[in-house]
Symmetry: C2
Subunit: 477 residues, 2 copies
């Protein structure tokens, strides 16, 4: 039996798995009595897919494979190219159709040496890493007086002559939060600090890592010198080192820092988005885009950022594909070059931004359990959004906003007004590890990962337009 | 009132603080009815010292000061010399008598560059650190096939020709344990692995860090090439990296490792033990030795290993001193050069090993709460040992063995048969941080540290022979 596309018009159950459709049809009809209806898999079918996904091993295998067989994969480097080859092999082996790479060019910045020492009054080494797009010191480093600020605003308010020629240190008080709310406001030292310090004539800047842990692994992350500010060396100290610097500064003596940061811009290189599909029964229907990003920072193996995300998105699509053929095409996009400036997301938008999409979804906040679903599907699809909330509730996922969706690579398209869903992950521990050498496989809890797969599979089942009962061999179109 | 030395013969209470002695005298007499008696502070006085110590801030100030103002302090280096100067200033300022340094010479090994990469089949960097006394690679490193073993015994059983010219990797399964029991058996890859690998002709060895964490901070630690084995480069991979290597090895392809470790032996340098005293009323009575070690590994700032230990020992002594004058001298020893081979402990034994000591006590297992007391005071002092157990119980400290005492620097003297006490700390998380860059101030819980100070103060009050009621100005002798 084929279910035609009828988004938002009438509700029709797909033929349930194993053809025992009566019960779920009745349940579905009961559900549909009070609201505008839409096509989705039957509640029983959704429940069965959801429960089965809680035993998933596929996603962990993807995370394990990508982090082990490729490891770190900085955008635009040979390592990211190997990741794309790995991705094409993997997605093809999983049985997806239309596996392809859409390449694009981008400027590439690579890390060099990175060392720091307090030289006075209490000589000792500090753990530092360069922020993405940092300028470089000479190979032997620079040494200058260190001047400390508790916030970007404090730096901005300082007279230029107090800063000129010195190395700036900026602290912050980022809180641990389930929804990661601190990353925006307390991430300002990374995003804004280098430009302000440069414009005030600072020799360099080091910030307290934008992180919530207490390990000697500094957090890198991208920043851009804006408003014509000349690049200066810009690094992050680990949180324990930043606290050490504060303790030393509080002694009230002149503090001197020696800093070696020798990153380089190596010019234009190629990156790319890896795309695969579960072709829908209605090839004219807009696709559902599920995504994560394939690139990682170079310090860790990018397990939570974002091997987990690409694994969750692809595994959910595979579980739907293995259950039958959805009405709508599911398009998997493993974006390239997210970390260093959303190059993959912007390239996708440039190529496909004018095409309609049924929903955009991205997983890029680790591997913690999904605890809230937000969506922005439009007023006319409110019944669908509520059915989605209802279908996710058994996984311990609370209904969230109906006018909100987010995701890094999909943010340009969301800004254009395309519909989207966000399955918010628990980020309580995310910023302990984010952008550090500690982003490794052991940080992924297999059970939490399964819950993510179950949430995404459920979401796809709801948005699918109905899954055809008889799985059949998919052909590449 | 003066209390004469009468160890093990008759019990006499000291004059209680503020001279209200009746109540505690009675309590003391009740306590003393059934067992051989000995001199100690009265139970009420002990309780008052114990409770007051639970509000202590002195120990944390010492840990904060030493880790901030000196930082890492590798034995025999200029940094350890600065630590001794800091220690002399601090112990003098605290009011102790006879503050002095006993210097000794020792061979010094210093760290160089340390980097490692898997070069095939999945190129990626690994986090590595050199083990103490490691041999060196050339500056450009070495590259060889990696051969993996799950244990030292597996390596020992391998034919030499399977190992020759290769880089050996040894894994292990050290468990997390409150008493740190895993460090002995599962530390064998560090202690024994390099010698066995060298004798089999290996080009180098890397082990899984002897640690229980999952951070990219490898655990260093000393080892010695024994039985005439030639030094080879010997490093530790962080636990996540070791697990990554195991996953890569399990793929069954030939694995190649590039290793850069360039430590050097810089010859003979000076180290020293810093000693201070609370002179007892009876200068002929053997002293109670309380200790920790001043040196640290170079990677972290040595907060839990062992700024906490020196702080606990000295703070307990100060709290007794501030309460009055003990019968017995309390000798504080901040040992030098513990990490790299117990040079300080051995020097102390060479100088003082023939002198009687009333008890030897060392804190060198972090800053976790004390949960068990062991002692080895001798059969004739069983009543004192049991009084010690009883006085510590209110702190949540369980009575342990009466025939056991341990401590790193004091182990040579304990081996000679001198009496000792061990206040066993909770080491559940100790080997997460031990010998890594992560051994920093933030790992010390001030509340747990206070409980340690209370335990040590209690112990000293029991062993003191009684504390004279009227505190008076101590003079250097």
């Amino acid at each position: 039996m084929r279910i035609l596309s009828n988004a938002g018009v009438t509700w029709r159950p797909c033929l349930p798995y194993r053809k025992s459709m009566t019960k779920s049809l009745i349940a579905g009809l009961l559900l549909a009595t009070a609201a505008p209806v839409f096509a989705q898999a039957s509640p029983a079918h959704i429940a069965s897919l959801r429960e089965a996904a809680l035993k998933d091993d596929i996603a962990y295998e993807i995370v394990e494979g990508l982090t082990t067989e490729v490891g770190p994969r900085l955008a635009g480097t040979e390592a990211e190219a190997r990741a794309r080859e790995w991705a094409v092999r993997k997605l093809t082996a999983m049985g997806f159709a239309n596996v392809r790479v859409e390449t694009f060019d981008m400027p590439v910045w690579v890390r060099g040496e990175e060392k720091a020492w307090i030289t006075a009054p209490f000589p000792q080494p500090l753990a530092v890493t360069a922020l993405g797009n940092s300028g470089a010191t000479p190979a032997e480093g620079i040494e200058a007086e260190l001047i400390g600020f508790n916030s970007v605003d404090e730096l901005a308010a300082a007279p230029d002559e107090a800063v000129r020629g010195k190395i700036v240190f900026i602290d912050h008080n980022m809180p641990r939060a389930q929804d990661g709310i601190g990353y925006g406001y307390f991430g300002r030292p990374r995003r804004e600090g280098p430009t302000i310090a440069s414009k005030k004539g600072a020799a360099a800047i080091v910030i307290r890592s934008i992180g919530t842990d207490h390990h000697r692994n500094p957090h890198t992350g991208v920043m851009t010198f804006a408003d014509g500010a000349a690049p200066i060396p810009a690094g992050a100290l680990s949180v324990p080192d930043a606290e050490q610097v504060q303790r030393i500064l509080k002694r009230g003596k002149r503090v001197r820092l020696r800093l070696v940061l020798t990153p380089r811009n190596i010019g234009t290189r190629q990156s790319g988005n890896v795309i695969a599909e579960v072709p829908g029964r209605d090839r004219s229907a807009p696709p559902i885009l599920v995504s994560g990003h394939l690139d990682s920072w170079d310090l860790g193996t990018g397990a939570i950022d974002d091997a987990a995300g690409v694994a969750i998105a692809a595994t959910a699509a595979k579980r739907i594909m293995d259950a039958g053929q959805p009405l709508r095409t599911i398009r998997i996009v493993w974006f390239g070059a997210e970390e260093v400036g959303l190059f993959g997301g912007l390239d996708y938008r440039a190529r496909h931004g004018k095409e309609p999409h049924y929903a955009l979804v991205e997983s890029d906040f680790g591997a913690g359990r999904v605890w809230r679903v937000d969506s922005r599907l439009g007023k006319e699809r409110e019944a669908e959004a509520k059915a989605l909330q209802q279908a996710l509730a058994p996984l311990g996922i609370a209904p969230g906003a109906l006018d909100k969706a987010e995701g890094s690579d999909i943010s340009p398209l969301l800004a254009d007004g395309l519909p989207g869903v966000s399955l918010a992950q628990d980020g309580t521990f995310y910023f302990d590890v984010h952008h550090t050498p500690d982003d490794t496989l052991d940080k992924v809890d297999p059970q939490d990962l399964r819950q993510n797969v179950a949430a995404w599979t459920t979401m796809l089942a709801v948005l699918s337009g109905g899954i055809e009962a008889e799985p059949k061999r998919l052909k590449r179109r």
